[in-house]
Structure formats: C-alpha cells, structure tokens
C-alpha cells in the first residue's frame, strides 16, 4: 500500500521561513538505522533518501511533532529547533 501524504499536506497552511530550515541532517555517508527510519516514520514525509543513499530533509511540510528529534536523540543525526516564532505550520483546527 502506498499512500501519498503530500496530497493531504496540501490542505494545511504554512508560513515558510525561507532560507532558515529549522531541521538539519548532519553530514553523513551512510545513514544510521534511526535516520533511515525517519524516511518512513515522519508523518509529513519530510525525509527522503537521495541518489547517493544519504538521508535528506525538506522541512517545508513539517508538522512540528518532534518525532524525528526523539528518534535521533541517541544517534545525534539531526539538529532540531522550533521554527522562529510565527513561522511554520499554522493549524486552523488542530
């Protein structure tokens, strides 16, 4: 079963802070199992494998749940911060 979350994210509202990504993946050659898991577990599908087999993040659709931060806590693969005040996802309903 492949469900595309991108279609659903379309209905959300975001204020994107251009040029200031609030999540960064640290440079790596081979992703750790935790980092790899994010390509599946992130509810907004922000993480993807690139052609070189490394994990990349594009956090524009991020729902700011914090799951990736917790999964990668021990492996320290990512840098995670909240977007600047007022930026990021904007729930109309929540």
């Amino acid at each position: 079963m492949t469900i595309k979350v991108e279609d659903t994210l379309f209905s959300n509202r975001y204020v994107v802070d251009s040029g200031r990504a609030h999540i960064k993946v640290k440079p790596h050659t081979i992703p750790s199992p935790a980092l790899l898991a994010l390509t599946r577990v992130c509810p907004a599908h922000c993480y993807e494998l690139n052609d070189r087999g490394q994990v990349e993040v594009i956090a524009d659709g991020c729902l700011e749940c914090g799951t990736c931060r917790i999964i990668c806590q021990d492996s320290q693969d990512i840098e995670w911060n909240y977007p600047r005040g007022g930026f990021g996802v904007l729930f109309k309903f929540g």
Partner: protein, 440 residues
C-alpha cells in the same frame, strides 16, 4: 547566566506556552492580581496545538465556571463506543444515555484552535500580557541555578520575572535543553496523526443517530495498529469529524508502517469508512502524546520554576485524558504561586514543593499512580493485545452468532480450542493477571 541586557519590564511570573495548562495558569494568576507575561510561539494560541478532542467540563469549570456561555463547544457527548477491531469486524461496547443530555454536560467535543483562542481571550481579559509569535529559547538562571527569566527569539531579548512556569507541552525544548526535564524517550511518547473531515451537520446527525448538539465518540484499538501499542479515535463535531490514530514512537521506529498508512487503514476499515464517506478533508495534523505515565513524571519544581501540563507527562493514556490534567496542574501551580506571593515568601524550591503535594491530593497524581503499570503491560504484551486478542474476540463472536447447525456445546468447544490455538492457556492467564495487576 544572567544577561547584561536590562529589560524595561519585570513580571511576577512568565508562563511559557498558551495551551490549556499555560492558559489555566496565566488566567488564575492574572485574576489573582499578579503581573503575568505569557509567551507563545504560534501566530495565535492554538495554531500549533492538536487534540482529539474531548473536553472534560469539570476541570475547566473550576477555572471558568460559566465557560458554557461563550466557549466554542462542538457537541456534548451522549454516546461512547469502545471498539476492538480486526481487519473486517469490530467487537465493542456502546454506551449511550439520555442522562448525558443534562443541563451542564460532562464532556464535549471541541476543536483546539478556536478553543485555545477563546481561552486566550479570557486570559487577556483577566489582565495577563500575551505575546505570540515568540519562541522562548532558553531560561535565564543565576549562578546558583535559580530561574529568573527567559530569552526569546526576538533578537535574543531577555525578560525577567520572579518565576517561570513551563507550560510548553510534551516536546518542550526549554525544559529539556536546560536539563530541568529529562529528554523524552521513544517508548514514553506516542505519535498521533489526525485529519479533519467535513460533512454537513445533517449528515453527521443521521449517520450517528443524533439530534441537536448531541455527539458520539469512538475509541478503537486492534489490528489497525499492526501489533504496535496504539489506539484510534473518531469524534463527531458540529460539521466535521476528527479522526486519528497514534502509536508509541518506539514501535513506529522499529515497525514497518508509516503513520498516514495506519490512518488510511483505519479510515478504510469497513466499520469506519461509511461514517466518513463523502467528507472533505481540510487538515492533517500530527502531535506527540506523553504516554509514559507515572514513572515518567520528571522533577516538577525547583528554584524559580514549575512544570505544568504535558511537559510534566500528565496524560492518562487509557482514558485519553490530558487537557483536564493540564488545566488542573496549571490551576494548582497558579494557586500556590498566588499564595506565596501574598505571603511574600520566595519562590524557592522548598516553598514550591507544595505543588507536588497539591497534585498528589488531586485526581492527576492519583489516577496516574493507579495506572502506573499499564504502559509496561502494553509494552510486554503488545503483540497479543493489538493483534491476537482482537482477532480471537471477533472469531469467537462470529462462531457464537452464526447459526449453522452446530449445537451450542460444540460452539463453546470451538471457541475454547480457537483461543488455545492462538495463545497458550498460560499466556492468556498471564496476560490477564498482568492486566489486572496493572489496572489495580
């Protein structure tokens, strides 16, 4: 470290966050005459917040007795369905009572963004200063460790206060990064995803057999979560249905499914799909839920600081109660702070320790303590609780209800042998025993 910057304003209390716990605290403090600054990172209170959402009237009533006059309530709950699902069936309990059509209903469905906005207006009217679009980045502490203010992401501006209440929610970074709260562990938080499905009011009324402002809530568990520890829900609002599912982050980490795949599975379950048919999805959200229970509660107070709400892990996952614990802990914290302020006592760790006692005497700690064994039980038996048992229950019910020429004694025999085949007798007994122990 104390900053060199000299802020113009000093407040009695700074509250970080404008969810139910922060709003409860700020409201009570402001009404008590204290100078309160509340900081919220969202564009407006609620813009970052996600909940099912069921509001438990009692906790709010103790803060705003006449909240029913103008709070944005969706429906009052007259029916609760608890379903155990296997792939094609559900076995469940429905409880519906005319008694819930009372003058002051006990439970309501709400939508968090409008609700938080409403609550925040009350806080502002009570006299607190609320600044949104401002993320607190760290605590300001003295050499001795006493918290005396916060730094914000508005050009690093510092604001000082006599004390700080952390109402920053489950993924609160301020408490965790300052070392006042341990970092969250994947097995003590669940990730929930949720969608808002819009339908005409009459359609919802007809599908759920409702009239006026009556509402239905469904809690479901079973094979939809693939053996992972988790539950799904479906709540009726006036013109929408909230539908979601959540599982422990540790299970997601090692599992094979994506969160939205689980949600899809739940939405397309034969028992759920007809309820949502034709709806327009207007939002998709995700949020963590603290599920570690009593054993995961961090230190809740110290020199110049208190922790309230989800940041303190106050969620009873079995009963899906969190916002009421958030509001109650916020209120209790505020009441203690007002008392100390009036007595001109310092906000020292020693004086703030009474907060813990107040919580222990309330339903918050009593309930969390009662269920302290549940997270461990679910962990150790998840494969069966969220896989084998729902399947068995459904098969047993089907065997029992299908009239096919087999006599009733033969049916009993079939059911028993089915149970034994899928789960050894000792396994069944041991799970039952563990559950009873955890529940007590």
């Amino acid at each position: 470290m104390a900053s060199a910057q000299q802020p113009n304003d000093k407040f009695d209390v700074i509250v970080i966050g404008a969810g139910p716990s922060g709003n409860a605290a700020a409201y009570v403090l402001a009404r008590g005459g204290l100078r309160v600054l509340q900081l919220e990172r969202g564009e407006y209170p609620g813009s970052k917040n996600v909940q099912g959402a069921i509001l438990y009237a009692n906790a709010l009533e103790q803060i705003i007795p006449d909240f029913r006059d103008d709070a944005p309530l969706e429906r009052h709950v007259i029916e609760q369905r608890i379903w155990m699902l296997d792939d094609k069936s559900y076995v469940g309990m429905n409880y519906r009572s005319e008694d819930f059509n009372e003058e002051r209903p006990n439970r309501y469905t709400i939508i968090r963004a409008p609700f938080d906005k409403w609550f925040s207006r009350k806080v502002r009217d009570a006299g607190a200063t609320i600044v949104c679009e401002t993320t607190v980045t760290e605590l300001i502490r003295t050499e001795a460790g006493r918290v005396i203010g916060v730094r914000t992401d508005r050009d690093g501006a510092v604001v000082l206060a006599d004390m700080v209440i952390m109402a920053e929610g489950v993924n609160g970074l301020v408490g965790q990064r300052s070392g006042l709260r341990p970092e969250l562990k994947p097995d003590s938080v669940a990730l929930a995803v949720k969608e808002m499905h819009f339908l005409p009011r009459e359609t919802i009324d007809a599908r759920f057999n409702l009239k006026g402002a009556e509402g239905v809530v469904i809690e479901a568990m079973g094979t939809v979560t693939d053996g992972m520890v988790g539950t799904a829900f479906l709540y009726t609002n006036q013109e929408s249905i909230s539908v979601g599912i959540g599982c422990l982050v540790s299970d997601f980490k090692t599992g094979t499914a994506a969160p939205y795949e689980l949600l899809h599975r739940f939405k397309t379950h034969p028992a759920i799909a007809p309820l949502l048919e034709g709806a327009e999805v207007k939002e998709y959200a995700a949020h963590l839920i603290p599920e570690g229970g009593y054993n995961s509660i961090p230190q809740l107070y110290g020199d110049g600081w208190l922790i309230v709400g989800d940041a303190g892990q106050f969620v009873n996952a079995v009963h899906r109660e969190g916002s009421n614990m958030a509001m109650t802990s916020g209120r209790l914290a505020a009441e203690l702070v007002i008392k100390l302020h009036r007595m001109r006592e310092p906000f020292s760790s020693e004086n703030l320790a009474e907060y813990h006692t107040m919580l222990k005497n309330s339903f918050v700690m009593k309930d969390l303590k009662k269920y302290k064994g549940i997270p461990g039980f679910l962990h150790s038996s998840s494969k069966h609780v969220f896989g084998t048992y729902p399947r068995l229950l459904s098969q047993a019910a089907q065997t029992w209800f299908r009239v096919d020429g087999a006599d009733k004694r033969e049916k009993e025999r079939q059911i028993v042998s089915m149970m034994r085949k899928d789960r050894s007798f000792s396994g069944l007994i041991s799970d039952a025993f563990k559950l009873v122990r955890a529940w007590r």
